[in-house]
């Protein structure tokens, strides 16, 4: 498999690899994929009171393209609002990394990870509002 230089760079120098505090109310955690598929991504977003993504961390079990996709995504979302981040499409990720057709699904998973993290954040927010208004 001939990897693009960008994929190799992300693999050798992953951006924002690590974890945020799952219990922190301002952190949304998305866990997508399945071990049986050989692809699991965890994406965590720290979102401030203005709805801006301040920090992002990823952990991925998967091939080089999957790792690169999730690493790239953390750099793409930082500084964006969650509404903007939700608009990120897998095609952008695939194009930036020059993924071959057989690896496009890795970028799809990365897009899913963003949405899952945001959904988790929104769920937490809704629970908090329910608590405070109760």
């Amino acid at each position: 498999m001939a990897y693009s230089q960008k994929v190799i760079d992300h693999f050798e120098n992953p951006q924002n690899m690590g974890s945020l505090d799952k219990a922190d109310p301002s952190v949304g955690t998305g866990l997508v994929g399945a071990p049986a598929c050989g692809d699991v991504m965890k994406l965590q977003l720290k979102i401030n009171d203005n709805g801006i993504i301040e920090d992002a961390k990823f952990k991925t079990m998967g091939c080089g393209s999957a790792i690169a996709s999730s690493s790239l995504v953390t750099t793409m979302v930082k500084g964006k609002s969650i509404d903007e981040a939700e608009l990120i499409k897998n095609a952008e990720i695939a194009a930036e990394l020059a993924l071959p057709p057989v690896k496009i699904h890795c970028s799809v998973l990365a897009e899913d990870a963003i949405k899952a993290a945001i959904a988790d954040f929104r769920k937490k927010q809704a629970a908090r509002s329910a608590e405070t208004s109760a």
């Binding site: 071990p35 050989g38 965890k42 952990k59 079990m61 091939c63």
Partner: protein
């Protein structure tokens, strides 16, 4: 001493041609280039003499007679010829074939081709250690079974089948027994009478010979095996395989066979086994959650197939790019399916995706193994740091309890 990079640890995929083999071959390219079938001049006689010497060398490796050796373009062709050739010749007797789920595709696809032409096939499963259960085989043989095909040693997991016992059962039931011995020759003793085999596939490039040449052993007595040729033409190889013999290739195969036979007694098998054990011990000393795929006891001395839990195989290979090896992960296969051999063992898809296969060989050194242990351990640790699964496991979470969303 600087190590050549990448370090080659994929000897089950192919081998470099041994310099002694290459040396033996070269004169037959430009000097002694005659067609071995040219009966009327020295060019032909010389070539024929070289071919017949090589035939003896190949026969000698497996305890056969020269007349029982048919040269082919490689083991894939040998497998095709053995399976289709014997099945078709014996069509009147019956149309049932038995083989095993862990066979090489050249065997499985040949069997599927026969199914399309009206044969019935039984593909037997294996036990978790990769070995065939003899009772399962006994129960599968029918009055209309004409052929059983079971490989000597598996190319992915290195597991060695109980060939002698399988052969004995086939003899008892009057069924021909074909054995793809590609991976085992030169690593484990193999004698056709001792093993009760009727057909044996041999590959040049799996024993330090050139690619594009192999052989098929076809037993001549007790029982006599006859087959229908796959390739028609000038009637070469007693009508079993037409086509001008590639003298230089055959000379290479013969020399390779002679060297392989020597390896069985000159200490080479012990040397490579010690290096393989060193690799396994070294990895286990540095990493937890490693799983060996296939029987340890019944295994090729040069093979190690290991799952590195929570780390995907292709990512591992990218990380250890200074080492040439292979993986059972879906990402590394053209079909995006994980290794069918590992699945046949009942290895979970999770672990199949995390497997790496290392094949050691004649030119592997202790220095290369120590370098490999270090690199593999470091990269596995790095990828485990990156793995959300490893993190969850270390937190005490049972991964089986999670509802994963498939995509």
């Amino acid at each position: 001493m600087t190590l050549r990079r990448p370090i080659y640890l994929d000897y089950n995929a192919t081998n470099p041609v041994d310099p002694r083999v290459a040396e033996a071959m070269i004169p037959y390219l430009t000097e002694h280039f005659g067609n071995p079938a040219s009966r009327n001049h020295a060019f032909g006689w010389e070539a024929r003499e070289a071919v017949e010497l090589a035939r003896e060398q190949v026969a000698d490796l497996i305890g056969a007679t020269a007349r029982e050796v048919v040269f082919t373009s490689g083991a894939t062709e040998s497998n095709n010829l053995a399976i289709k050739g014997v099945a078709r010749f014996n069509e009147e007797k019956g149309k049932h074939i038995i083989t095993v789920a862990t066979e090489h595709k050249a065997v499985l696809d040949s069997v599927h081709a026969l199914e399309r032409d009206g044969w019935e096939a039984t593909v037997l499963g294996v036990q978790p250690d990769g070995r065939l259960d003899l009772d399962v085989l006994r129960a599968a043989i029918r009055p209309d079974t004409t052929l059983v095909s079971v490989m000597f040693a598996n190319n992915e997991i290195g597991v060695i089948q109980p060939i002698r016992e399988i052969g004995a059962i086939c003899r008892e039931r009057g069924v021909f027994f074909h054995c793809d011995a590609v991976q085992g020759l030169g690593r484990v003793p193999f004698h056709v009478d001792d093993m009760n085999v009727d057909l044996v596939s041999i590959s040049g490039h799996k024993m330090y010979g050139p690619k594009g040449i192999g052989a098929l052993y076809v037993r001549r007595a007790r029982p006599r095996v006859r087959l229908q040729a796959e390739i028609d033409g000038g009637g070469h190889e007693r009508g079993m395989r037409s086509g001008t013999l590639a003298t230089h290739q055959i000379v290479g195969l013969g020399k390779a066979a002679a060297l392989a036979k020597a390896d069985l007694t000159n200490g080479e098998v012990e040397r490579v086994r010690a290096l393989r054990d060193r690799l396994w011990d070294g990895l286990r000393a540095r990493l937890d959650e490693l799983y060996l795929n296939g029987s340890w006891e019944h295994r090729l001395p040069n093979n190690l197939n290991v799952s590195f839990a929570y780390v995907e195989g292709e990512a591992m290979m990218m990380g250890i790019k200074d080492i040439a090896c292979s993986s059972g992960s879906a990402c590394t296969s053209a079909s995006l399916e994980p290794s069918y051999v590992l699945r046949a063992l009942g290895v979970d898809a999770e672990l199949a995706h995390t497997s790496l296969r290392f094949g050691l060989g004649r030119f592997t050194t202790a220095e290369e193994i120590d370098f490999a242990i270090d690199l593999i351990a470091n990269k596995a640790a790095f990828l485990r740091e990156m793995s959300p699964l490893y993190e969850m496991v270390k937190e005490g979470i049972d991964l089986k309890s999670i509802q994963w969303e498939a995509h």
